[in-house]
């Protein structure tokens, strides 16, 4: 398995430990090493690594850089609420505190480059310096000049520095309109089932044998592999369910080698885990508690999405109903539903072609405040004065995210809204106020 990493300029032992720590990622690590070259050689200015979540990108780089003791700065861009943090972090890890403190308040890119050059002229790089930026997709939301500058930072600062960007998104989605220096692309493919098995089996429980644990992992993967390939999640699930797996063993019913019986015991349990704890319907702590008391009573804990009932004030309910009607009925049908002597309107002739498709398939449409109120007044059964609290209820429905404001916030004279609740939800609401919403929906006519 251990196709040895080889690269002149590094100690053999260290390369050995590195390859031990990077199971199933030897190819990628070897590729990276050869790109990096020998420590004193200039490396390629920028490398872009992409691959799905937990496919080992950060891990490989961290292990390589740490084990081989290369000068590096690792920054997760999600933390960089301003670019200043990025610059600071880089200067700090290359040149120490004093350099970082040279940065002015809210520094620009050129400040950073200036200070970097100044510092690197004092202590020029003997080895390639590496800047690793995790979550690089967020760079796109940052200043427009940051990404192109980082890609050719080597030229800008005239130092032996390489920027490595890590992302879950392909490079094509990064490329700025104005064009930029193309980094080297390196893809980290997902782990295959066999690889996952290999990696997961490594962290076995010390009190059980290797074979036993790897049989367990095999069963676990059999259930979860189709829905989840995230190593972190799988490891978590393995840890959560292992005690249940060992239960028959502790009771002395089964031997370690009797995989079939163990499988029979654990499989329904794992299936249940897939529906609950994997989706975070039930928290891991609760899951563990459930395991302990499962013999006594089953399924006492309800998942998060089981609680959908929302209590609302009386008029808020009607406002929400009115909003739903306004969102899902074409405006021209209002007359038919809310005016007493509307005459007969045939469905087929009455509507334009595009309105014939179900409005529920098209999703909610925006409507102006006036229409909402007009429908509200005709829907609610008593006379309601247009008081301030009616209006404030609309805005509180917006903050509760039951309505969404479509128009821009500072357009105060004619705000537009969309109804953001589901059909089931609104049916439940209208049942509590004895309102038959189906009768008022154009789609169900």
């Amino acid at each position: 398995m251990s196709a040895l990493l080889q690269q002149p300029g590094y100690e053999e032992e260290r390369l050995q430990t590195v390859s031990k720590k990077l199971p199933c990622r030897e190819v990628q690590a070897g590729m990276l090493l050869s790109l990096m070259g020998q420590p004193h050689q200039y490396s390629y200015p920028s490398i872009f690594i992409y691959g799905h979540q937990s496919s080992g990108k950060s891990h490989v780089l961290n292990v390589l850089l740490k084990e081989l003791e290369l000068p590096h700065a690792t920054v997760s861009f999600v933390e960089c609420v301003s670019v200043a943090l990025l610059f600071e972090q880089v200067l700090l890890s290359f040149f120490g505190c004093d350099a970082a403190s040279l940065l002015p308040r809210s520094p620009s890119l050129s400040d950073f480059v200036r200070i970097y050059r100044q510092q690197s002229s004092q202590s020029p790089a003997k080895q390639t310096r590496y800047i690793v930026i995790e979550k690089a997709e967020l760079l796109r939301d940052s200043d427009a000049n940051l990404l192109p500058a980082l890609l050719r930072l080597q030229e800008l600062v005239e130092d032996n520095v390489t920027v490595i960007l890590l992302s879950e998104i392909v490079w094509d989605r990064f490329r700025p309109n104005t064009g930029c220096f193309e980094p080297l692309l390196l893809h980290f493919p997902d782990y295959s089932k066999g690889e996952l098995q290999h990696i997961l089996a490594q962290d076995r429980n010390p009190s059980y044998s290797d074979e036993f644990y790897s049989a367990y992992i095999n069963i676990l993967l059999g259930v979860f592999y189709s829905v989840c390939r995230d190593l972190r999640e799988l490891r978590h699930l393995a840890a959560l369910n292992f005690s249940k797996f060992c239960e028959p063993l502790a009771e002395g019913k089964v031997k370690e080698t009797d995989t079939h019986k163990l499988w029979r015991n654990i499989e329904p349990h794992l299936k249940k885990a897939m529906q609950t704890v994997y989706l975070r319907e039930v928290s891991s702590l609760q899951w563990e508690q459930m395991q302990q008391m499962e013999e006594k009573e089953n399924g006492a804990v309800r998942g998060l999405s089981a609680h959908t009932h929302v209590e609302l004030p009386y008029y808020s309910k009607f406002l929400l109903i009115a909003a739903y009607l306004a969102s899902f009925n074409p405006a021209r049908t209002d007359k038919r539903f809310f005016v007493k002597h509307h005459g007969k309107i045939k469905k087929t002739n009455f509507l334009k072609k595009n309105e014939k498709t179900s409005n529920h398939l098209l999703g909610p449409k925006p409507f102006p405040l006036d229409r909402l109120l007009a429908i509200f007044y005709s829907v609610v059964d008593s006379r309601v004065a247009p008081t301030a609290s009616i209006f404030s209820q609309i805005s509180s429905l917006v903050t509760l995210q039951l309505l969404t404001q479509v128009s821009h916030g500072d357009q105060i004279d004619a705000p537009k809204y969309k109804c953001a609740v589901s059909m089931d939800f609104i049916c439940a609401i209208s049942r509590t106020v004895n309102f038959e919403i189906i009768k008022y929906l154009y789609d169900f006519l």
Binding site: Q53, S76, V78, E79, V81, S82, L85, E88, Q89, L92, C97, A100, K135, D203, N205, P206, S207, R232, E233, R235, H236, A238, A239, L240, F242, S243, L279, R280, S283, S284, L285, Q286, L304, S305, H307, T308, H309, V310, E311, L312, P313, Y314, Y315, S316, A385, P386, T387, A388, S389, I390, Q393, S396, T399, L400, Q401, L402, D413
Partner: protein
């Protein structure tokens, strides 16, 4: 407090060399009052009463919240303890951020108090590091991090670290921690999860999860709607970083029920609300906001208004004080008492000689007042226990003829004589069919309620009731045989009557009932049951009469529902329209008075323009409008209608017109349109 007091208060001060004194609350209160002499005592009474109500409600709130807060505290403790385990499983599993999803209901204004007591409790018993953040302060990730760091880490920073200094938020948090194991968790409370920007929240959670292994972080999400919002806001990749546990708080209607129980249905506070005011407050709660805090604010407003507008409210206090205050009433106040409708009614019932005494002799009146006040207190002492008894009996009846909640029954009783109500009759009928066990358990509950009361009448009622319960018990022991099956045959057809049936069936059922009744003599249980219900009925009739029937009820009852409604449930549109239609209503200038509802031509420009625009259709020609305006204004200036300049548009009138029109546009009555040149469009309906 009404605004009139403010304005009047300002005018009282003459410009003097002295420094301008800022008005205290008390001055504000006193200046608008009628009968300014005792207004000070009234103010103090009001203040005392409010303070008491406030502390009581706060206590109540804390009590109601204790359960959920306790479980939350347990959760935080548990989380901080589990992270210190170091066995294989806890090492292997991904470290998630413990998160409590606290579902609080849509009454957002009430949440503040809950969060406040929560963070106080957390500070006291779990951890000093508590940060609560609100969505409106955290538009961007930067601000959120800043808020959290500010409120949690300032003290910690000074406490734990003066050694390490670095600027990144992550490093700041990570460096000082490792040495001590018994670390209190850092709790971050998101007060209104729904209002947060989902992106900001996701990024924040991502950052936090990077440090969770080094830092004991913990979240509390305040959720107003339902827990599934978490799943709407956070993708799986983020929510998998959290270990979410759900906590459901008390529903706001239950909360209101307890508040009403402890605050309104008690003799503890002399101040009362009459039926209409109660109705307004409750309907604001049910229809508009579900907010208990606003309900209490409403009570506060009523309290203030009562003491401010009713001079006789000096008597609205504890018994001893009230009796003292009666003796100190001046002649003017006694005249006011004589003017009270309830007192007039009382006088009419007296002998002619006594009548004269009451109307002329001040000292005699004072004596009578003392007695009447005592009577009023007695009335309350009897009213509430009886109300509760009636409620326990009727609240479990099918279809709730007298309401499910005690507040509904209370409202009925406040309005009129409850026993004349049809619903009351039907409830009594249903009670007459009740089975033995049920009835006995209900009567036992009633007895328990009566036990708490200290008044003589209630005690004697309790004795009677207990005697009756004893008799019921005797039935059990003496007549060992089970209750006759015939009883069921009587009750069942009556129950059937509640269902829908056609006339023929009904007739048949009624006939059957009659027969079975005739054929059967009343069993001893039935006799006793009727007796018990008669007793309850008499109790109700003697104690549950509405407060309006009591003499001097005006002293304690606040009755101006219109004021409360106007203040709490403002109608901006209506008041704008009122102002434009009849400016006299707000400006109080005699020249603006007009009888037939038309606007006098001396009214402010905007009123004239508004009035004229009502006469137009959907599109208004600006030039015609201007001409009409100029004519009206010229008439107001007293120009001779026959002169040449009458109705002519000069620069000043033009400017005034334009200003008025743009004011109307600002108020949202018209808008510019491109349909026709020189026209504007009306946005409102009606008028012509």
């Amino acid at each position: 407090m009404s605004t009139s007091s403010v304005s009047k208060g300002c005018f009282v001060f003459k410009p003097s060399a002295k420094k301008k004194k800022t008005l205290s609350l008390e001055d504000h209160f006193i200046h608008g009052c009628e009968g300014a002499d005792e207004s000070k005592t009234r103010f103090n009474l009001c203040q005392d009463l409010w303070d008491q109500i406030k502390t009581d409600t706060e206590l109540l709130q804390d009590e109601l919240n204790t359960k959920i807060l306790d479980s939350l505290l347990d959760f935080t403790r548990k989380c901080s303890s589990t992270r210190q385990q170091s066995d294989w499983a806890s090492h292997m599993r991904a470290s998630e951020i413990p998160t409590a999803a606290l579902v609080l209901g849509v009454n957002v204004p009430d949440h503040d108090m809950t969060f406040q007591s929560l963070s106080e409790l957390l500070r006291q018993s779990v951890t000093p590091h508590v940060a609560s953040v609100q969505a409106k302060e955290c538009g961007a990730l930067k601000h959120l991090i800043k808020r959290v760091l500010e409120s949690t880490l300032c003290d910690w920073y000074t406490m734990n670290t003066k050694k390490s200094y670095s600027l990144t938020p992550g490093k700041k948090r990570s460096s000082p921690v490792k040495d001590d194991l018994q670390q209190p968790p850092i709790v971050i409370i998101f007060k209104d999860l729904e209002a947060f920007n989902a992106r900001v929240l996701q990024d924040f959670i991502l950052i936090c999860s990077r440090y969770i292994e080094r830092l004991p972080l913990m979240f509390i999400f305040g959720i107003a709607t339902s827990p599934s919002t978490i799943q709407h806001m956070l993708p799986h990749s983020v929510s998998s970083l959290l270990c979410i546990e759900l906590f459901q708080s008390l529903s706001c209607t239950q909360h209101l029920a307890t508040v009403i129980d402890k605050l309104i249905l008690t003799t503890h506070f002399p101040f009362k609300l009459n039926g209409k005011v109660m109705q307004v407050l409750i309907s604001i709660f049910l229809y508009h906001d579900f907010s208990v805090r606003n309900f209490i604010k409403g009570v506060q407003l009523a309290l203030l208004e009562h003491f401010h507008s009713q001079p006789l409210s000096v008597l609205c206090c504890r018994k001893k004080e009230a009796l003292l205050n009666v003796m100190q009433l001046g002649h003017q106040d006694l005249e006011r008492i004589r003017q009270l409708p309830s007192f007039k009614r009382y006088v009419e019932k007296q002998e002619p000689q006594e009548q004269e005494h009451l109307l002329t002799d001040d000292t005699h009146l004072k004596e009578v007042c003392r007695r009447l006040i005592k009577d009023l207190r007695k009335y309350h002492k009897h009213y509430y226990p009886t109300l509760r008894c009636l409620h326990t009996l009727t609240s479990s009846l099918p279809r709730y003829p007298l309401g499910k909640q005690i507040r509904e029954l209370h409202l009925i009783c406040l309005e009129k004589n409850v026993w004349e109500n049809e619903e009351y009759q039907s409830a009594m009928k249903l009670l007459k069919m009740m089975a033995k066990d049920e009835l006995i358990s209900l009567l036992k509950k009633c007895a328990e309620i009566l036990q708490h009361s200290k008044s003589k009448n209630m005690k004697s009622a309790l004795l009677l009731l207990e005697a009756m319960l004893a008799k019921f018990k005797q039935l059990d022991t003496v007549v060992a045989e089970p209750p006759p099956p015939a009883e069921e045959s009587i009750t069942s057809p009556v129950k059937n009557l509640q269902k829908k049936m056609d006339l023929f069936q009904l007739q048949k059922a009624l006939l059957e009932m009659n027969e079975s009744r005739r054929s059967k003599k009343l069993s001893p249980f039935e006799v006793l049951r009727n007796e018990a219900l008669q007793f309850i009925d008499s109790l109700v009739q003697s104690h549950l009469s509405p407060p309006e029937s009591q003499t001097l009820y005006e002293v304690c009852y606040y009755s101006s529902s219109a004021t409360v409604r106007r203040h709490l449930n403002a109608a901006p549109r209506t008041s704008i329209q009122a102002a434009l239609n009849s400016p006299f209503y707000y400006l109080q200038n005699d020249r603006l008075k007009s009888e037939d509802g038309s606007v006098s031509n001396a009214a402010p420009d905007i009123c004239i323009v508004y009035k004229l625009h009502l006469e137009c259709g959907r599109l208004i020609n600006l030039f015609d409008w201007l001409e009409a305006f100029a004519t009206v204004v010229s008439a107001a200036e007293g120009n001779d209608p026959d002169s040449d300049s009458f109705g002519k548009v000069d620069d000043v009138k033009h400017a005034r017109f334009i200003r008025a029109v743009s004011e109307l546009e600002f108020l949202g009555f018209i808008k510019s349109t491109k349909q026709k040149t020189d026209h504007v469009a009306r946005i409102t309906w009606g008028g012509c």
